[in-house]
Homo-oligomer: 338 residues x 4
């Protein structure tokens, strides 16, 4: 590595921490993985050993390391806001997984700390870095579909998460649809102004008992006059279903799912092809690399990050409005929340 | 033709009357086109001459003709209910174009007359007879996708109709979305219980001045617990966009658009293929044949028709609820209407 | 019908005769089906009754009918050349099913008679009138793929015909590949100059015992310098497989199969879609209408036909060269045949 | 890395050496990149520095390093056979890029040395490790298409290589089609017994002046009775075109191209989508990782390699037969060559 490589510490050695650590270590030539930290010392040591990085039980040591310029916060959601503030105070540039927090107070405190410290912050909305969605954004932004009229997002998981996860997830809107709210803002280049939700518990009654939904259709209104619809399910048995389309006055841009292969098997009984890639680890492999790569570039070149603190806050607000809409069975203006 | 052929009179020699007359004359071996009637005598004469049928200015002569067993009512919407009643009184079996009427009073009077006379009635929701949608219905009805959770319909015209038409159309929900409401009931095999509409005027301000919308997203709730979304636009510049999908507990059934050809043109600049078939005349050519053919079979075999009077009434009620929802910006229960 | 309608007699009331008779009677407004003739009087009578046309046992009566301007020759192949000559002598314009004959002597005699009589002749290579192939031809002819380099045709039947048919078919090259030879000439706009065949009996040994092949790959050389490959099979269990593509210096034009519907069924086990349309009756329904419609137009407007006698002769010659190539296991120049 | 990691030296730091070195260093956890060697010391040093490996000008130092178990031979083709022999003598397991050599004498000497030393050898036919082709092989091998009848391979480069490369490439059959010959053997699980070639110079006359072809259709006969066709072009302007299909007695398995994204842009003028991935670096990124990963596993687990020396020799023989066929314009049996 050259001396100008950005030196990074990863905080959190769970599933997403492992992804980012591996990508920093192997896929991003201009970054160096210096250290990983996790309260679970075993997890930390295994990950550090794998990529030849320091293994720490306490992330404070990362913040104290003057040679480290940037941190990737991959710990549990309830610790994000606190660590963002501490990292900002330590002068580190910050990549923080979504959501920043489940409360606006903590989010705002974190963003204020970042702002005060003048460090960079990028939120982990990785789907913006996927080649499919990026192509749609490009077509919309370049006027290739004219003025946007209708946005349609289909976002379905292959199977619900464990009930224990559901209970601490913040609910479907802050855990799952939050990605779609971000995608909506990204694709349309316009703010969401109002939401309406129809939803239910169709897959597993335990999800209902945990106070959550597993199926929802969300209607969106945008500041530019367009409208949109998101349909979410926690269970598409055929795999991770991630499609978007934007209809405009001059055309439509749409993307379909990525498949593991292009095979077609034609038989007496019909024509068979492959299911979509199973879930986000398979589907968004490259977008995780891309988002970190762009973060590193922002740090290295001192340019703005692609997903700002405000971009991290907005989908949380929309998610809160969505939940309120569902509970009150009425359209809810975003301005009612914050 | 054999003597058992069903003898039919067509009332109305406009665009849709021409289609049905031609299909009866040439595509349905078990039917005979006996006469056509239109207040516009020229239209009637041209059509009669083309298919070697009697040309009448007054449809009463068709009702009086004892050799005619069935009529196809293709006149303007405001005359449907009256002619249905007269035809029923004359003992004719009735194929009636959609919608039966724009008011429930007239619809109910018409259905009562049909019921009293004991004649058959089929409403012209032709899309049910399309091979794509029929295949989806079949998969849903046979449990091939498990229990239905989410319905998604995209229904977009290539270009808005003339403003003069808009003014007498009954509005987008009774003129355009009515087909989608029927499709929703057909595909799900369950009644719609509530609707919510987000919509606007995005294509042509004149449509707004005429008191109508040109773009709408309608959320549906079904008696079986499922939910659905319909997105409508009066202008998809790439052609008539007619797609549906149903997600269920065990899979998804979906259909895409029909194209005029399967060509793919690969160049330095990208890969090009054909746009969807332009509009309903091109797209639903065969479904018009199929619906009339099944109507004739129902008459010939004395079996129930595939689209009943109740099927003709329900989408009108949903359309009224949709308009109310848009005006009041709230979900509206179908039971609020009728 | 107007007085300017072209009056047609159909000779032969078998499978293909029925198609043409029905199309002339119902789908082509500018033609009138006057009479049908078949040595099988029952077949003739049934077909005549169906479309309200005269039913004859002897086609001579059609040739003698001065009100008939055109004939469609749909009798058995061995009668084509003779009837063409008689019809030409009677001054009838002629639509003749493919092939004209299995021998060049008879073909040349028939074409000479047509030429002498100055009547129009169109050969039944219906695939040229299919919207898919027509689009490819249009792209090639308009230079949209630059200079053609490689032609690829896949042409596979769903199941072999009965052995009794095989025995009188003239062999795979004159019965089945002949369509592909015509397609090759049509798409490339250039003559075939040489062929080479690799083939075998893979599906049914009885086909081999009858002296025929059931599987073949034919290499083609064209006068314009391009090369091509045709792969044929008598048995694609998934349905009628009819694809072509042309690669050129500036791109590629390709078409895939037509399907009965666009449905996609996504399940835990994979994604299923429909097989291609079963066979030529389903696949080429519209091309049969189009070819007859254009023939009628040629007669009505006194313009050249779209598939000339020379177009009918050339694929027979190529087929003979193909058989010679297979027998001698070497490339055979077309000039070796005729 | 664990102590059981396979230690590898890469010989040759050109385009393909860089790919394998990077993959060994970052994508294959059970391998360690120890050293890279190249006669071009600068290339060697840059590559070594990038992946923290020893940089050598002379590959002899790799062969002398007792800690290195395996080598990847990525040097110029004319050095392959010699280095294979030296590496075998040094007891190294060998991954060797294709082709082993352009002469059978040298190939046989290399394979004899490998055999004598008892080391493992894998040849770099990377396409066998692509998920698309692997799926087709799996379907064929598992009898999912019945008995194979017809193989069809389309293999086209986006643009011809420089003329200087053409001159030393061994010709289109040993440089380009060799991959397709390997694919044919792999997919069919049967040896090629005979070939016939039709070809020409259509893209660039300079290729002809260099004694090579740029466009070819090769017919193949297999020991199992099946036949096949390969169409090659050095210039498909729309990108790297890599498709295969196998028709069998019970169905067909086929794959199409991989695209950079799934976007569809629908406009007034048509529907646009993305071109195939540009060339082999983009298209076969993962297959390069997979082939090396499986080689490392073979070494680590002492199992047979997936592409043997015999697999490396056979396509060269077929290529020689193909060239002979083209020159002599006749089918050539493989047994005529060796």
């Amino acid at each position: 590595m050259t001396t100008s490589s950005v030196r990074v510490g990863v905080i959190g050695a769970g599933r997403i921490g492992k992804i980012h650590a591996g990508n920093i270590a192997t896929r991003i030539p201009s970054a160096t993985l210096v250290a990983v930290a996790d309260v679970n010392a075993t997890a930390s040591e295994e990950l550090g050993a794998k990529w030849n990085a320091k293994a720490l039980a306490d992330y404070q040591a990362i913040l104290d390391d003057k040679t480290i310029q940037a941190v990737a916060i991959c710990s549990s959601t309830d610790t994000h806001a606190k660590i963002v503030q501490e990292a900002a105070a330590a002068g580190k540039h910050i990549f923080c997984e979504k959501p920043i927090d489940h409360t606006l107070e903590k989010i705002d405190a974190a963003l204020a700390a970042v702002n005060k410290a003048g460090v960079k912050l990028q939120i982990g909305f990785n789907r913006r870095f996927d080649s499919n969605f990026r192509k749609v954004r490009e077509l919309v932004a370049n006027g290739k579909i004219g003025k946007p009229h209708i946005l349609r997002i289909t976002s379905r998981d292959p199977a619900p998460p464990p009930i224990e996860y559901i209970k601490v997830s913040g609910g479907i809107f802050l855990d799952m649809t939050i990605h779609d709210f971000d995608m909506a803002r990204y694709l349309m280049g316009s703010e969401v102004t109002q939401v309406f939700v129809a939803g239910g518990v169709m897959i597993d009654p335990k999800i209902g008992e945990a106070g959550d939904l597993d199926t929802a259709i969300t209607t969106l209104w945008f500041a530019n006059g367009a409208i949109g619809t998101i349909d979410n399910s926690r269970q598409a048995v055929y795999g991770y279903d991630q499609r978007v389309e934007v209809l405009g006055s001059e055309g439509m841009a749409a993307v379909s799912n990525n498949l593991p292969d292009t095979h077609v098997h034609s038989t007496r009984d019909g024509v068979y092809s492959s299911k979509p890639l199973y879930f986000f680890l398979e589907r968004y492999t490259e977008s995780f690399v891309n988002e970190m790569s762009e973060f590193i570039e922002s740090v290295g070149n001192n340019t703005a990050t692609a997903v700002t603190g405000a971009d991290g806050r907005a989908p949380v607000v929309i998610g809160m409005a969505a939940l309120k809409s569902f509970k009150e069975n009425r359209p809810v203006k975003i301005s009612e929340i914050a």
